[in-house]
Amino acid sequence: MKIIVAIKQVPVRDSSLHIDSSGHWIDEDDLSYEINEPDAYALEEALQLKEKHGGEVVALLAGPERGSQTIREALAKGADRAIHIECDDLASLDTLGIASRLAAAIKDEKPDLILTGLQSDDLGLGQTGVVLAELLGIPHATIIMQVEAGEGSIKVKRELEDGWFQHVEMPLPALLTIQSGISKLRYATLMGIKKAKTKEVRRISAGDLPPAAAATVTLERVYLPEKKKETQLIEGSPKEAAAKLVEKLKFEVRVI
């Protein structure tokens, strides 16, 4: 089974973020980066499927040079080779733009399965995987908790709202977006890192790929959550005030 895992490099969780001077993105100086958490689970799922059924795991990453660190970690954990689409303009692309680059980079790969994380920790759009599947013309399923591979098809368990799950059987090739926390991640080992040195990383310059369609969605402004404190004095008799308070708690604040 040949599995491609699309991974993204995002700022380390708990980084202290600052908005850059343009107001369109965060200041990237002094930030450390790591693999997007749901992608780490997608990679883990791919590695476990490979351990069970054999085959190959290919890591796919679009991003600047610093992304090679995350690629190396993926190779160290057990991916067999990697494809790095080198580009510095991720923030200016929309999901269609990124998905079309990913699709173009793997058009000759003919994988049985493509896994991505459910969404990214930085933008949280949750679309890249779905759009990629559409571009490749293969079926997809999202928020996957469990994968069981069979002959030419897979059975997956999707997470729905409110504790409901959906079990789906689908043909291969297919694309799945993987939910965070569905298994136990493995730790990178020294042996893995040493082996990773000899593994193939195919670098593709974004310029060599067909130009991405003009972004249909643009980032207007990036800003840190603004804390607001608002005090309202409810006037009237205690009975009236209480009634107003209950109404506000019910319909404005929606806590009762």
């Binding site: 380390v12 969780r13 708990d14 202290s16 790591e34 136990k184 991640l185 493995r186 730790y187 990178a188 080992t189 020294l190 042996m191 893995g192 890192i193 040493k194 040195k197």
Partner: protein, 648 residues
Amino acid sequence: MNPATPAHVLVMTLHYAEPPSFSMVEMVLLAICIALSAVAFFRRFSRVLRNIFTARKDPGFHLAPIGKRVWDFFWELLCQAKVIRERPLPGLAHAFVFWGFLAFALVSLNHFAAGFRLGVLDADNWVGVFYFWFAAVFALLVAVSIAGLFVRRFFVRPIWLGRKVSYESGVIAFLIFALMVTYLAAFFVPSTSTMARGLWWAHALCILAFLPLIPHTKHLHLVLSPITIFLSRGEFSHIPPLNGDEDFGLVTGKDVTQLVALQAYSCVECGRCTEHCPAANTGKILNPKEIILGVRNYLNDLGPHSEEPLLGKYNSQEAAFQCTTCGACEFQCPVGIEHLPVIIGLRRGAVNTGAWEDDHGTKLFLALERNGNALGMSATERDKFIKKQELPIFDGSQEYCLWLGCMGAYDPQGREIIASFAKVMDYLGTSYGVLKKEKCTGDPVRRLGNDLVFQQLAEQNLEIMKQQKVTKIVTICPHCVRTIAKDWKDYGASPEVEHHSEFMARYQDKLPKTDGPEIVYHDPCYLGRYRGSYDQPREVLARSGKVIDPPRARERSFCCGAGGGLAFLGEETGERVSHVRAKELAATGASVVAAACPFCNTMFRDALAATSDAPPQLLDIAQITAQTIAAQPVATASATPSNGAQNA
């Protein structure tokens, strides 16, 4: 040696009697016996030598400094200091047997030489008389000692010697005893008598029977342990650097180094390591002696070129990961075995190749990879603490960098220790600052054998040190001290570092003195055995109260159970190490338990509460000192160093 008058005979019989001459037949017989014994010895011994010499070379081993080696050889081997100190009575008995062997070296050589008419010691001249009598004194001591050791092994039977009685040891003890008796008896017979000849032959045959028993029993230590002691790794718990891209620690026989093989064959199976091991004493499967013997059995069965994993049939992975790296085993070992490089080497092999699967361990590794601290907290929590505590930020102008460590930065109790120590430093007028960014020193991953994460943390921290121009570090955590001082060295030059107990001890005269309560002090492994700082914390505590020792103190201190990364692993099997120690500390009746390590502190907090209804108060030495400072009468307090408030 003339035939003599009766009076002369009496005098002669108090001389050592050796047959005056040997026939050709006797000489041929003797030559055959010697040849048989030597062949039997070398056939077995050459296999041992081959397993040692063809093993992998030790990376990073160097003979210098030779002075320490010579001293260790003199003190530990020739003086038998360690053997005696740790088990006085059997130790002294062993020392007499050892010194007896040394004294007998010349006698034994002469014995065989005489058999070929080449003897040099003559019982008639004064040199010979002196030496034979000199040896006789030792013969007596050896005979008594070996008989005592025989009684201990076969009748007293301390469990440390193993459940299975070693019958070879009985045979060896008998041979040694017989050697001494045959020697002493020769003082009471005329040299021309058949008896003298019989004794001579009996003595010779005992030696020749003894030789072939050496290489395949624990008595191999007679030959190897002097070399083992001389060729130590040079420092306590030295973790050797990995060598090249194929070295992941002790994975298979191919990774066993010459020193590991030498040490494995030197083991005398005395069980001192087991006796002092916190794991072995609390119902875990780890037994440090068995780890070493496991390596020996592996080498005997498969040799140092096998690709069979070392963990499996011969040693258990579970056992290797039960070690708290307290180092009691290595400290106790009388034949120079260094257990920690072996145990940590086995862990390195398992972790660096991914063979160790443990949920808690994986969680710790991922936390250190992602968050850079062992508690898996966000670095912003550290920032908040620094801000709340108003700790000055290190900017290169201060003398000391106060290293918080994971416990000091994130653990509530550890933070209290930092706050107290900051007060002490303010009181003493020391200038200090804390780093804006700091990662775990990597101690838990170093001891658990994760070289990848350790290297990352060491390099990141060394980079911070360089950027901030840190030259002197003081910290509340002995694990940080050890890791910064020794382990970072593999990746660059690290700053000078000292433990807060050592810092405060240097300024003890400036600290207030009160007659406080009885304080029982627990020696942390990483401050005591690892660093040799036993007196400094006691001196600091003596300013605040009466310091008492628990039954196991100083070099023999019993671990709290947290070391070696175990604080972050799951529930222990058997009894909890921390409970055993907490009970021991509480039983001293002291009203205060003083710790000098935030890990000990956190272990005892739970353990004291769990094992005692009215537990003694648990405090770090910095907290005790800060309390004493705060409790000073105002008049004295105003006499504090004038620049004391500058850092506040």
